[in-house]
Symmetry: C2
Subunit: 315 residues, 2 copies
Protein backbone atom coordinates (compact mmCIF):
# COMPACT_ATOMS: atom_id res chain seq x y z
CA UNK A 1 0.00 0.00 0.00
CA UNK A 2 2.17 2.90 -1.11
CA UNK A 3 1.46 6.57 -0.54
CA UNK A 4 -0.48 8.75 -2.94
CA UNK A 5 1.99 11.60 -2.88
CA UNK A 6 5.38 12.17 -1.30
CA UNK A 7 6.35 15.81 -0.80
CA UNK A 8 10.08 16.37 -0.33
CA UNK A 9 11.18 19.64 1.23
CA UNK A 10 14.80 20.67 1.47
CA UNK A 11 16.07 17.36 0.15
CA UNK A 12 18.31 18.01 -2.86
CA UNK A 13 19.21 15.01 -4.96
CA UNK A 14 22.74 14.93 -3.53
CA UNK A 15 21.51 13.82 -0.09
CA UNK A 16 20.92 10.26 -1.28
CA UNK A 17 22.41 7.86 -3.80
CA UNK A 18 20.33 6.78 -6.77
CA UNK A 19 19.47 3.35 -5.39
CA UNK A 20 17.76 5.00 -2.39
CA UNK A 21 15.94 7.47 -4.62
CA UNK A 22 14.70 4.47 -6.59
CA UNK A 23 13.40 2.85 -3.41
CA UNK A 24 11.82 6.14 -2.40
CA UNK A 25 10.05 6.64 -5.72
CA UNK A 26 8.60 3.13 -5.53
CA UNK A 27 6.78 4.10 -2.31
CA UNK A 28 4.37 6.63 -3.82
CA UNK A 29 2.35 7.19 -6.95
CA UNK A 30 3.77 10.69 -7.21
CA UNK A 31 6.75 12.60 -5.80
CA UNK A 32 7.17 16.38 -5.64
CA UNK A 33 10.36 18.09 -4.46
CA UNK A 34 10.64 21.68 -3.20
CA UNK A 35 13.49 23.76 -1.75
CA UNK A 36 13.48 24.77 1.91
CA UNK A 37 11.65 28.09 1.76
CA UNK A 38 9.53 27.50 -1.30
CA UNK A 39 6.28 29.49 -1.34
CA UNK A 40 4.65 26.42 -2.93
CA UNK A 41 4.92 24.26 0.20
CA UNK A 42 1.45 25.18 1.50
CA UNK A 43 -0.10 24.45 -1.89
CA UNK A 44 1.73 21.15 -2.49
CA UNK A 45 1.24 19.85 1.04
CA UNK A 46 -2.57 19.96 0.71
CA UNK A 47 -2.88 16.54 -0.97
CA UNK A 48 0.32 15.03 0.47
CA UNK A 49 0.11 11.93 2.62
CA UNK A 50 3.88 11.52 3.14
CA UNK A 51 6.05 14.52 3.99
CA UNK A 52 9.83 14.11 3.96
CA UNK A 53 12.09 16.94 5.05
CA UNK A 54 15.81 17.68 5.29
CA UNK A 55 17.79 19.02 8.25
CA UNK A 56 16.22 21.88 10.27
CA UNK A 57 13.20 22.34 8.00
CA UNK A 58 10.30 24.08 9.79
CA UNK A 59 7.02 22.13 9.73
CA UNK A 60 4.35 23.98 11.69
CA UNK A 61 0.74 23.58 12.75
CA UNK A 62 -0.13 25.82 9.79
CA UNK A 63 1.39 23.29 7.39
CA UNK A 64 -0.30 20.34 9.01
CA UNK A 65 -3.69 22.06 9.11
CA UNK A 66 -3.61 22.33 5.33
CA UNK A 67 -2.53 18.70 4.94
CA UNK A 68 -5.71 16.82 5.68
CA UNK A 69 -4.43 13.47 4.41
CA UNK A 70 -0.99 13.66 6.03
CA UNK A 71 -0.09 10.28 7.53
CA UNK A 72 3.68 10.39 7.97
CA UNK A 73 6.50 12.88 8.48
CA UNK A 74 10.10 11.73 8.13
CA UNK A 75 13.21 13.84 8.59
CA UNK A 76 16.63 13.03 7.17
CA UNK A 77 18.29 14.22 10.37
CA UNK A 78 18.58 13.38 14.05
CA UNK A 79 17.32 16.81 15.19
CA UNK A 80 13.60 17.53 14.79
CA UNK A 81 13.33 20.76 16.76
CA UNK A 82 11.86 22.66 13.80
CA UNK A 83 8.94 20.24 13.49
CA UNK A 84 5.88 20.72 15.71
CA UNK A 85 5.95 17.10 16.85
CA UNK A 86 3.42 17.68 19.64
CA UNK A 87 0.82 18.89 17.18
CA UNK A 88 1.66 16.03 14.82
CA UNK A 89 1.02 13.66 17.70
CA UNK A 90 -2.40 15.24 18.33
CA UNK A 91 -3.14 14.55 14.69
CA UNK A 92 -1.77 10.96 15.14
CA UNK A 93 0.93 11.64 12.57
CA UNK A 94 4.17 9.86 13.47
CA UNK A 95 7.37 11.87 13.02
CA UNK A 96 10.46 9.75 12.41
CA UNK A 97 14.13 10.64 12.50
CA UNK A 98 17.37 8.80 11.78
CA UNK A 99 18.70 8.55 15.34
CA UNK A 100 21.98 6.77 15.62
CA UNK A 101 23.01 6.95 11.98
CA UNK A 102 26.35 8.62 12.76
CA UNK A 103 27.03 7.33 16.28
CA UNK A 104 30.18 5.49 15.35
CA UNK A 105 31.39 8.13 12.94
CA UNK A 106 31.22 10.90 15.53
CA UNK A 107 32.55 8.82 18.43
CA UNK A 108 35.58 7.70 16.39
CA UNK A 109 36.14 11.31 15.29
CA UNK A 110 36.27 12.49 18.92
CA UNK A 111 39.00 9.95 19.68
CA UNK A 112 40.81 10.78 16.43
CA UNK A 113 40.81 14.51 17.19
CA UNK A 114 42.14 13.94 20.72
CA UNK A 115 44.86 11.51 19.61
CA UNK A 116 45.93 13.92 16.87
CA UNK A 117 46.71 16.54 19.50
CA UNK A 118 48.20 14.42 22.27
CA UNK A 119 50.53 12.64 19.85
CA UNK A 120 51.51 15.86 18.05
CA UNK A 121 50.99 14.16 14.70
CA UNK A 122 51.00 17.46 12.79
CA UNK A 123 54.39 18.42 14.21
CA UNK A 124 55.66 14.90 13.54
CA UNK A 125 54.66 15.11 9.88
CA UNK A 126 56.07 18.63 9.55
CA UNK A 127 59.44 17.44 10.83
CA UNK A 128 59.54 14.41 8.57
CA UNK A 129 58.66 16.48 5.52
CA UNK A 130 61.57 18.77 6.46
CA UNK A 131 63.72 15.60 6.72
CA UNK A 132 64.13 16.14 10.45
CA UNK A 133 63.54 12.82 12.16
CA UNK A 134 64.53 13.99 15.61
CA UNK A 135 61.88 13.68 18.30
CA UNK A 136 63.67 15.94 20.79
CA UNK A 137 61.28 18.63 21.98
CA UNK A 138 58.23 16.61 21.02
CA UNK A 139 56.05 15.08 23.68
CA UNK A 140 53.11 12.75 23.89
CA UNK A 141 50.58 11.61 26.42
CA UNK A 142 48.21 8.68 26.56
CA UNK A 143 44.44 8.38 26.91
CA UNK A 144 44.91 5.48 29.32
CA UNK A 145 44.55 6.46 32.95
CA UNK A 146 43.42 10.03 32.25
CA UNK A 147 40.00 11.36 33.29
CA UNK A 148 37.69 11.40 30.27
CA UNK A 149 34.53 13.42 30.88
CA UNK A 150 31.50 12.99 28.64
CA UNK A 151 28.76 15.61 28.73
CA UNK A 152 25.53 14.07 27.47
CA UNK A 153 25.20 10.31 27.42
CA UNK A 154 22.89 9.67 24.47
CA UNK A 155 23.89 7.30 21.64
CA UNK A 156 27.00 9.20 20.66
CA UNK A 157 28.08 10.14 24.18
CA UNK A 158 27.70 6.54 25.30
CA UNK A 159 29.73 5.17 22.39
CA UNK A 160 32.44 7.79 22.95
CA UNK A 161 32.54 6.75 26.61
CA UNK A 162 32.87 3.09 25.59
CA UNK A 163 35.76 3.84 23.23
CA UNK A 164 37.55 5.85 25.94
CA UNK A 165 36.96 2.99 28.36
CA UNK A 166 38.57 0.63 25.83
CA UNK A 167 41.70 2.81 26.03
CA UNK A 168 41.67 2.41 29.81
CA UNK A 169 40.62 5.99 30.58
CA UNK A 170 38.85 6.85 33.84
CA UNK A 171 35.53 7.69 32.17
CA UNK A 172 32.97 9.88 33.93
CA UNK A 173 29.84 11.60 32.67
CA UNK A 174 27.30 14.26 33.27
CA UNK A 175 23.87 13.90 31.72
CA UNK A 176 20.40 15.26 32.41
CA UNK A 177 19.37 11.77 33.47
CA UNK A 178 21.42 9.16 35.28
CA UNK A 179 22.30 6.17 33.08
CA UNK A 180 22.46 3.04 35.17
CA UNK A 181 23.59 0.77 32.34
CA UNK A 182 26.65 2.95 31.83
CA UNK A 183 27.35 3.23 35.54
CA UNK A 184 27.32 -0.57 35.70
CA UNK A 185 30.13 -0.45 33.10
CA UNK A 186 32.18 1.69 35.50
CA UNK A 187 31.34 5.05 33.91
CA UNK A 188 30.88 7.28 36.93
CA UNK A 189 28.40 10.14 37.26
CA UNK A 190 29.77 13.51 38.38
CA UNK A 191 28.05 16.83 38.71
CA UNK A 192 28.81 19.45 36.10
CA UNK A 193 31.36 21.45 38.10
CA UNK A 194 33.31 18.46 39.36
CA UNK A 195 33.45 16.91 35.90
CA UNK A 196 34.76 20.15 34.39
CA UNK A 197 37.46 20.36 37.06
CA UNK A 198 38.53 16.72 36.95
CA UNK A 199 38.60 15.95 33.24
CA UNK A 200 41.75 15.78 31.15
CA UNK A 201 39.56 15.25 28.09
CA UNK A 202 36.02 16.50 27.61
CA UNK A 203 33.64 15.33 24.91
CA UNK A 204 30.47 17.37 24.43
CA UNK A 205 27.67 15.16 23.17
CA UNK A 206 24.31 16.48 24.33
CA UNK A 207 21.71 17.83 21.94
CA UNK A 208 21.40 21.59 21.56
CA UNK A 209 18.16 22.43 23.37
CA UNK A 210 16.98 25.49 25.32
CA UNK A 211 18.51 23.89 28.46
CA UNK A 212 21.92 23.30 26.88
CA UNK A 213 22.07 26.68 25.13
CA UNK A 214 25.32 28.31 26.34
CA UNK A 215 25.68 25.48 28.83
CA UNK A 216 29.41 26.17 28.76
CA UNK A 217 29.25 29.70 30.12
CA UNK A 218 32.05 31.73 31.64
CA UNK A 219 31.85 29.98 35.01
CA UNK A 220 31.91 26.54 33.37
CA UNK A 221 34.75 27.35 30.99
CA UNK A 222 36.86 28.80 33.78
CA UNK A 223 36.58 25.50 35.69
CA UNK A 224 38.15 23.41 32.93
CA UNK A 225 41.50 21.94 33.99
CA UNK A 226 44.75 23.44 32.74
CA UNK A 227 45.97 21.37 29.82
CA UNK A 228 42.58 19.82 29.14
CA UNK A 229 41.40 19.06 25.62
CA UNK A 230 37.73 19.67 24.84
CA UNK A 231 36.04 18.27 21.74
CA UNK A 232 32.69 19.68 20.75
CA UNK A 233 30.79 17.91 17.99
CA UNK A 234 27.43 19.55 18.76
CA UNK A 235 26.31 23.05 17.75
CA UNK A 236 28.48 25.86 19.12
CA UNK A 237 25.36 27.49 20.54
CA UNK A 238 26.07 25.25 23.55
CA UNK A 239 29.12 27.42 24.27
CA UNK A 240 29.35 31.10 25.22
CA UNK A 241 31.72 32.31 22.49
CA UNK A 242 32.91 35.44 24.31
CA UNK A 243 33.71 33.42 27.42
CA UNK A 244 35.47 30.79 25.32
CA UNK A 245 37.62 33.49 23.71
CA UNK A 246 38.60 34.68 27.17
CA UNK A 247 39.63 31.19 28.25
CA UNK A 248 41.46 30.45 24.98
CA UNK A 249 43.49 33.64 25.45
CA UNK A 250 45.08 32.04 28.51
CA UNK A 251 46.60 29.38 26.21
CA UNK A 252 46.20 26.72 28.87
CA UNK A 253 43.70 24.37 27.24
CA UNK A 254 42.69 23.22 23.76
CA UNK A 255 39.21 23.50 22.29
CA UNK A 256 38.39 21.45 19.20
CA UNK A 257 35.16 21.66 17.23
CA UNK A 258 33.79 20.81 13.84
CA UNK A 259 32.30 23.92 12.35
CA UNK A 260 28.64 23.86 11.41
CA UNK A 261 26.91 25.89 8.75
CA UNK A 262 24.75 27.50 11.37
CA UNK A 263 27.67 29.17 13.10
CA UNK A 264 27.92 32.93 12.75
CA UNK A 265 30.79 34.16 10.60
CA UNK A 266 31.93 36.64 13.26
CA UNK A 267 32.16 33.86 15.86
CA UNK A 268 34.28 31.59 13.73
CA UNK A 269 36.54 34.52 12.90
CA UNK A 270 36.98 35.32 16.58
CA UNK A 271 37.85 31.75 17.54
CA UNK A 272 40.08 30.80 14.66
CA UNK A 273 42.63 33.42 15.76
CA UNK A 274 43.63 31.13 18.64
CA UNK A 275 46.17 28.42 17.96
CA UNK A 276 44.72 26.38 20.82
CA UNK A 277 41.35 26.38 19.08
CA UNK A 278 41.33 23.63 16.46
CA UNK A 279 38.57 23.94 13.88
CA UNK A 280 37.57 21.27 11.41
CA UNK A 281 34.99 21.40 8.64
CA UNK A 282 31.91 19.43 9.73
CA UNK A 283 33.57 16.05 9.18
CA UNK A 284 32.64 14.23 12.39
CA UNK A 285 29.54 12.63 10.89
CA UNK A 286 30.61 12.04 7.29
CA UNK A 287 31.96 8.50 7.30
CA UNK A 288 30.84 6.38 4.38
CA UNK A 289 29.25 4.02 6.91
CA UNK A 290 27.24 6.92 8.39
CA UNK A 291 26.08 8.00 4.94
CA UNK A 292 24.88 4.50 4.24
CA UNK A 293 23.16 4.20 7.64
CA UNK A 294 21.48 7.55 7.08
CA UNK A 295 19.85 6.52 3.83
CA UNK A 296 18.99 3.03 5.05
CA UNK A 297 17.31 4.36 8.17
CA UNK A 298 15.44 7.08 6.33
CA UNK A 299 14.01 4.82 3.64
CA UNK A 300 13.62 1.92 6.07
CA UNK A 301 11.49 4.09 8.38
CA UNK A 302 9.05 4.82 5.55
CA UNK A 303 8.91 1.19 4.44
CA UNK A 304 8.42 0.03 8.04
CA UNK A 305 5.56 2.48 8.51
CA UNK A 306 3.87 1.22 5.35
CA UNK A 307 4.32 -2.34 6.62
CA UNK A 308 2.66 -1.46 9.91
CA UNK A 309 5.82 -1.60 12.03
CA UNK A 310 6.89 2.05 12.35
CA UNK A 311 10.44 2.68 13.53
CA UNK A 312 12.28 5.67 15.01
CA UNK A 313 9.09 7.52 15.87
CA UNK A 314 9.97 10.54 18.03
CA UNK A 315 6.49 11.75 19.01
CA UNK B 1 73.71 -4.91 50.00
CA UNK B 2 74.57 -2.53 47.19
CA UNK B 3 77.00 -3.18 44.35
CA UNK B 4 80.68 -2.34 44.50
CA UNK B 5 80.79 -0.70 41.09
CA UNK B 6 78.20 0.12 38.47
CA UNK B 7 79.54 0.54 34.93
CA UNK B 8 77.23 2.47 32.61
CA UNK B 9 77.81 2.10 28.88
CA UNK B 10 75.95 4.17 26.30
CA UNK B 11 73.71 5.79 28.89
CA UNK B 12 74.01 9.57 28.58
CA UNK B 13 72.55 11.61 31.43
CA UNK B 14 69.54 12.61 29.30
CA UNK B 15 68.11 9.06 29.31
CA UNK B 16 66.87 9.45 32.89
CA UNK B 17 65.57 12.21 35.15
CA UNK B 18 67.64 13.24 38.17
CA UNK B 19 65.50 11.40 40.72
CA UNK B 20 66.24 8.11 38.94
CA UNK B 21 69.95 8.91 38.73
CA UNK B 22 69.83 9.54 42.47
CA UNK B 23 68.24 6.14 43.03
CA UNK B 24 70.84 4.54 40.76
CA UNK B 25 73.80 6.13 42.51
CA UNK B 26 72.51 4.91 45.87
CA UNK B 27 72.82 1.30 44.63
CA UNK B 28 76.62 1.18 44.32
CA UNK B 29 79.72 2.47 46.08
CA UNK B 30 81.04 3.75 42.77
CA UNK B 31 79.60 4.55 39.33
CA UNK B 32 81.55 4.91 36.08
CA UNK B 33 79.99 6.01 32.79
CA UNK B 34 81.40 5.41 29.31
CA UNK B 35 80.15 6.11 25.78
CA UNK B 36 79.10 3.26 23.47
CA UNK B 37 82.38 2.46 21.74
CA UNK B 38 84.81 3.58 24.41
CA UNK B 39 88.15 1.71 24.33
CA UNK B 40 88.08 1.81 28.16
CA UNK B 41 85.18 -0.62 28.47
CA UNK B 42 87.40 -3.71 28.79
CA UNK B 43 89.48 -2.00 31.44
CA UNK B 44 86.59 -0.61 33.48
CA UNK B 45 84.51 -3.78 33.30
CA UNK B 46 87.20 -5.84 35.08
CA UNK B 47 86.11 -4.89 38.60
CA UNK B 48 82.44 -4.18 37.76
CA UNK B 49 79.71 -6.20 39.45
CA UNK B 50 76.78 -4.33 37.84
CA UNK B 51 76.78 -3.51 34.13
CA UNK B 52 74.07 -1.21 32.75
CA UNK B 53 73.81 -0.55 29.04
CA UNK B 54 71.72 1.57 26.68
CA UNK B 55 69.91 0.51 23.50
CA UNK B 56 71.76 -1.85 21.13
CA UNK B 57 75.04 -1.88 23.05
CA UNK B 58 77.17 -4.96 22.27
CA UNK B 59 78.18 -7.01 25.31
CA UNK B 60 80.14 -10.08 24.26
CA UNK B 61 81.78 -13.13 25.79
CA UNK B 62 85.04 -11.20 25.62
CA UNK B 63 83.61 -8.50 27.91
CA UNK B 64 82.20 -11.01 30.35
CA UNK B 65 85.40 -13.05 30.48
CA UNK B 66 87.22 -9.97 31.78
CA UNK B 67 84.50 -9.23 34.34
CA UNK B 68 85.09 -11.86 36.96
CA UNK B 69 82.80 -10.29 39.54
CA UNK B 70 79.93 -9.46 37.18
CA UNK B 71 76.60 -10.32 38.83
CA UNK B 72 74.03 -8.34 36.86
CA UNK B 73 73.45 -6.89 33.38
CA UNK B 74 70.55 -4.49 32.81
CA UNK B 75 69.59 -2.84 29.55
CA UNK B 76 67.52 0.31 29.20
CA UNK B 77 65.70 -1.15 26.21
CA UNK B 78 63.33 -3.93 25.24
CA UNK B 79 65.72 -5.39 22.66
CA UNK B 80 68.78 -7.30 23.92
CA UNK B 81 70.00 -8.83 20.67
CA UNK B 82 73.47 -7.27 21.04
CA UNK B 83 74.05 -8.94 24.41
CA UNK B 84 75.35 -12.53 24.53
CA UNK B 85 72.57 -13.61 26.88
CA UNK B 86 73.32 -17.32 26.45
CA UNK B 87 76.87 -16.89 27.67
CA UNK B 88 75.66 -14.67 30.52
CA UNK B 89 73.34 -17.49 31.51
CA UNK B 90 76.23 -19.98 31.55
CA UNK B 91 77.94 -17.60 33.93
CA UNK B 92 74.66 -17.31 35.97
CA UNK B 93 74.48 -13.58 35.25
CA UNK B 94 70.88 -12.45 34.81
CA UNK B 95 70.21 -10.02 31.94
CA UNK B 96 67.17 -7.79 32.47
CA UNK B 97 65.27 -5.60 30.06
CA UNK B 98 62.36 -3.15 30.35
CA UNK B 99 59.73 -5.18 28.50
CA UNK B 100 56.37 -3.52 28.33
CA UNK B 101 57.44 0.01 29.19
CA UNK B 102 55.95 1.52 26.03
CA UNK B 103 53.12 -0.92 25.30
CA UNK B 104 50.36 1.62 25.71
CA UNK B 105 52.27 4.44 24.07
CA UNK B 106 52.90 2.44 20.90
CA UNK B 107 49.45 0.84 20.74
CA UNK B 108 47.72 4.22 21.07
CA UNK B 109 50.06 5.65 18.42
CA UNK B 110 49.05 2.93 15.94
CA UNK B 111 45.38 3.83 16.40
CA UNK B 112 46.18 7.57 16.26
CA UNK B 113 48.09 7.19 13.00
CA UNK B 114 45.29 5.17 11.39
CA UNK B 115 42.51 7.52 12.54
CA UNK B 116 44.51 10.50 11.32
CA UNK B 117 44.46 9.09 7.79
CA UNK B 118 40.95 7.65 7.64
CA UNK B 119 39.44 10.90 8.99
CA UNK B 120 41.58 13.11 6.72
CA UNK B 121 42.41 15.33 9.68
CA UNK B 122 45.27 17.04 7.86
CA UNK B 123 43.01 18.04 4.98
CA UNK B 124 40.35 19.15 7.47
CA UNK B 125 42.80 21.43 9.25
CA UNK B 126 44.19 22.77 5.96
CA UNK B 127 40.69 23.72 4.84
CA UNK B 128 39.80 25.41 8.11
CA UNK B 129 43.01 27.42 8.13
CA UNK B 130 42.09 28.58 4.62
CA UNK B 131 38.63 29.48 6.01
CA UNK B 132 37.03 26.81 3.89
CA UNK B 133 34.58 24.91 6.07
CA UNK B 134 33.09 22.85 3.29
CA UNK B 135 33.41 19.09 3.63
CA UNK B 136 32.49 18.36 0.02
CA UNK B 137 35.13 16.13 -1.52
CA UNK B 138 36.32 14.90 1.85
CA UNK B 139 35.61 11.38 2.96
CA UNK B 140 36.01 9.28 6.05
CA UNK B 141 35.80 5.67 7.05
CA UNK B 142 35.50 3.93 10.40
CA UNK B 143 37.61 1.34 12.19
CA UNK B 144 34.44 -0.46 13.27
CA UNK B 145 33.61 -3.47 11.18
CA UNK B 146 36.83 -3.41 9.17
CA UNK B 147 39.40 -6.21 9.24
CA UNK B 148 42.30 -5.24 11.49
CA UNK B 149 45.31 -7.52 11.09
CA UNK B 150 48.04 -7.62 13.71
CA UNK B 151 51.39 -9.21 12.85
CA UNK B 152 53.11 -10.28 16.05
CA UNK B 153 51.06 -10.66 19.21
CA UNK B 154 53.51 -9.77 21.97
CA UNK B 155 52.71 -7.08 24.55
CA UNK B 156 52.28 -4.28 22.04
CA UNK B 157 50.54 -6.34 19.36
CA UNK B 158 48.09 -7.68 21.90
CA UNK B 159 47.26 -4.25 23.28
CA UNK B 160 46.85 -2.87 19.75
CA UNK B 161 44.49 -5.76 19.01
CA UNK B 162 42.50 -4.98 22.17
CA UNK B 163 42.15 -1.31 21.24
CA UNK B 164 41.00 -2.23 17.73
CA UNK B 165 38.53 -4.68 19.26
CA UNK B 166 37.18 -1.85 21.43
CA UNK B 167 36.40 0.02 18.21
CA UNK B 168 34.46 -2.99 16.98
CA UNK B 169 36.97 -4.02 14.32
CA UNK B 170 37.17 -7.61 13.10
CA UNK B 171 40.60 -8.27 14.62
CA UNK B 172 42.78 -11.10 13.33
CA UNK B 173 46.44 -11.92 13.90
CA UNK B 174 49.43 -13.79 12.70
CA UNK B 175 52.14 -14.67 15.18
CA UNK B 176 54.92 -17.24 15.41
CA UNK B 177 52.99 -18.93 18.20
CA UNK B 178 49.22 -19.27 18.59
CA UNK B 179 47.85 -17.16 21.46
CA UNK B 180 44.88 -18.92 23.01
CA UNK B 181 44.03 -16.12 25.44
CA UNK B 182 43.63 -13.71 22.54
CA UNK B 183 41.66 -16.23 20.49
CA UNK B 184 39.28 -16.58 23.44
CA UNK B 185 38.70 -12.81 23.13
CA UNK B 186 37.60 -13.33 19.52
CA UNK B 187 40.90 -12.38 17.90
CA UNK B 188 41.19 -14.92 15.11
CA UNK B 189 44.39 -16.50 13.84
CA UNK B 190 45.03 -16.34 10.10
CA UNK B 191 48.03 -17.46 8.10
CA UNK B 192 50.32 -14.77 6.74
CA UNK B 193 48.98 -14.69 3.19
CA UNK B 194 45.31 -14.67 4.16
CA UNK B 195 45.85 -11.94 6.74
CA UNK B 196 47.66 -9.76 4.21
CA UNK B 197 44.84 -10.21 1.71
CA UNK B 198 41.96 -9.69 4.16
CA UNK B 199 43.14 -6.75 6.26
CA UNK B 200 41.93 -3.19 5.84
CA UNK B 201 44.42 -2.14 8.50
CA UNK B 202 47.71 -3.84 9.31
CA UNK B 203 49.77 -3.23 12.43
CA UNK B 204 53.29 -4.67 12.46
CA UNK B 205 54.33 -5.52 15.98
CA UNK B 206 56.80 -8.39 15.99
CA UNK B 207 60.39 -7.99 17.07
CA UNK B 208 63.06 -7.67 14.40
CA UNK B 209 64.85 -11.01 14.46
CA UNK B 210 66.58 -13.08 11.77
CA UNK B 211 63.19 -14.73 11.06
CA UNK B 212 61.34 -11.44 10.63
CA UNK B 213 64.10 -9.76 8.62
CA UNK B 214 62.43 -8.64 5.36
CA UNK B 215 59.33 -10.58 6.40
CA UNK B 216 57.37 -8.19 4.18
CA UNK B 217 59.00 -9.14 0.91
CA UNK B 218 57.74 -8.50 -2.59
CA UNK B 219 55.26 -11.40 -2.50
CA UNK B 220 53.87 -10.28 0.87
CA UNK B 221 53.60 -6.61 -0.08
CA UNK B 222 51.85 -7.45 -3.32
CA UNK B 223 49.15 -9.35 -1.40
CA UNK B 224 48.10 -6.32 0.68
CA UNK B 225 44.54 -5.23 -0.11
CA UNK B 226 43.92 -2.15 -2.24
CA UNK B 227 43.18 0.78 0.04
CA UNK B 228 44.75 -0.84 3.09
CA UNK B 229 46.67 1.17 5.67
CA UNK B 230 49.79 -0.41 7.17
CA UNK B 231 51.43 0.93 10.32
CA UNK B 232 54.94 -0.26 11.12
CA UNK B 233 56.34 0.67 14.53
CA UNK B 234 59.15 -1.89 14.43
CA UNK B 235 62.48 -1.57 12.59
CA UNK B 236 62.14 -1.16 8.82
CA UNK B 237 64.55 -4.07 8.36
CA UNK B 238 61.35 -6.16 8.57
CA UNK B 239 60.37 -4.74 5.17
CA UNK B 240 62.02 -5.12 1.77
CA UNK B 241 62.46 -1.45 0.88
CA UNK B 242 62.76 -1.96 -2.88
CA UNK B 243 59.59 -4.06 -2.94
CA UNK B 244 57.81 -1.49 -0.80
CA UNK B 245 58.78 1.26 -3.24
CA UNK B 246 57.31 -0.81 -6.04
CA UNK B 247 54.01 -1.25 -4.19
CA UNK B 248 53.85 2.41 -3.10
CA UNK B 249 54.28 3.48 -6.73
CA UNK B 250 50.87 1.92 -7.45
CA UNK B 251 49.31 4.51 -5.09
CA UNK B 252 46.73 1.98 -3.90
CA UNK B 253 47.66 1.63 -0.22
CA UNK B 254 49.20 3.68 2.57
CA UNK B 255 52.30 2.75 4.52
CA UNK B 256 53.01 4.56 7.78
CA UNK B 257 56.11 4.16 9.89
CA UNK B 258 58.04 5.93 12.57
CA UNK B 259 61.59 6.40 11.41
CA UNK B 260 64.35 4.91 13.48
CA UNK B 261 67.94 6.10 13.75
CA UNK B 262 69.14 2.82 12.38
CA UNK B 263 67.44 3.31 9.03
CA UNK B 264 69.74 3.97 6.08
CA UNK B 265 69.58 7.50 4.71
CA UNK B 266 69.15 6.24 1.14
CA UNK B 267 66.13 4.15 2.16
CA UNK B 268 64.33 7.00 3.87
CA UNK B 269 65.02 9.21 0.87
CA UNK B 270 63.56 6.61 -1.46
CA UNK B 271 60.37 6.15 0.55
CA UNK B 272 59.66 9.76 1.48
CA UNK B 273 59.10 10.58 -2.18
CA UNK B 274 55.74 8.78 -2.00
CA UNK B 275 52.74 10.70 -0.73
CA UNK B 276 51.14 7.43 0.35
CA UNK B 277 54.12 6.75 2.59
CA UNK B 278 53.65 8.65 5.85
CA UNK B 279 56.80 9.02 7.92
CA UNK B 280 56.95 10.21 11.52
CA UNK B 281 59.98 10.82 13.70
CA UNK B 282 60.27 7.96 16.22
CA UNK B 283 57.39 9.20 18.36
CA UNK B 284 55.43 5.99 18.90
CA UNK B 285 57.16 5.19 22.19
CA UNK B 286 57.73 8.65 23.64
CA UNK B 287 54.69 9.26 25.82
CA UNK B 288 55.47 10.77 29.21
CA UNK B 289 53.92 7.66 30.76
CA UNK B 290 56.31 5.44 28.78
CA UNK B 291 59.29 7.53 29.84
CA UNK B 292 58.28 7.15 33.46
CA UNK B 293 57.67 3.37 33.08
CA UNK B 294 61.05 3.01 31.40
CA UNK B 295 62.97 4.53 34.28
CA UNK B 296 60.86 2.83 36.94
CA UNK B 297 61.35 -0.59 35.36
CA UNK B 298 65.06 -0.11 34.80
CA UNK B 299 65.85 1.04 38.35
CA UNK B 300 63.22 -1.32 39.83
CA UNK B 301 64.88 -4.31 38.13
CA UNK B 302 68.21 -3.49 39.81
CA UNK B 303 66.59 -2.93 43.21
CA UNK B 304 64.59 -6.14 42.87
CA UNK B 305 67.74 -8.10 42.03
CA UNK B 306 69.49 -6.69 45.10
CA UNK B 307 66.45 -7.64 47.18
CA UNK B 308 66.59 -11.20 45.92
CA UNK B 309 63.49 -10.97 43.73
CA UNK B 310 64.86 -10.37 40.22
CA UNK B 311 62.37 -9.11 37.61
CA UNK B 312 62.33 -8.99 33.81
CA UNK B 313 65.14 -11.49 33.44
CA UNK B 314 65.42 -12.49 29.78
CA UNK B 315 67.97 -15.31 30.00
Amino acid sequence: MPFEKILLVNMPESVMNSQYWDRLHSLAKKTVSLPKDSPDILKEIADTDCLLVGFATPITKEHMDVAENLKYIGTLAIAYHKIDTAYARERSIPVTNIAGYCTESVAEFVIAAILNEIRQLDEGKRRSIAENYNFVGMSATEIRGRVFGVFGLGNIGKRTAELAKGFGADVRYWSRNRKEDCEAMGIRYEDKDALLQDSDFISINFAHTPETNRFFDEAALSRIKRGAIVVNTVPMETVDITALEKRLAKVDMTFIFDHSDEMRQEDIEKLSKYKNCIVYPPIAFISIEARKNKQELFIGNIENFLNGRPTNVVN
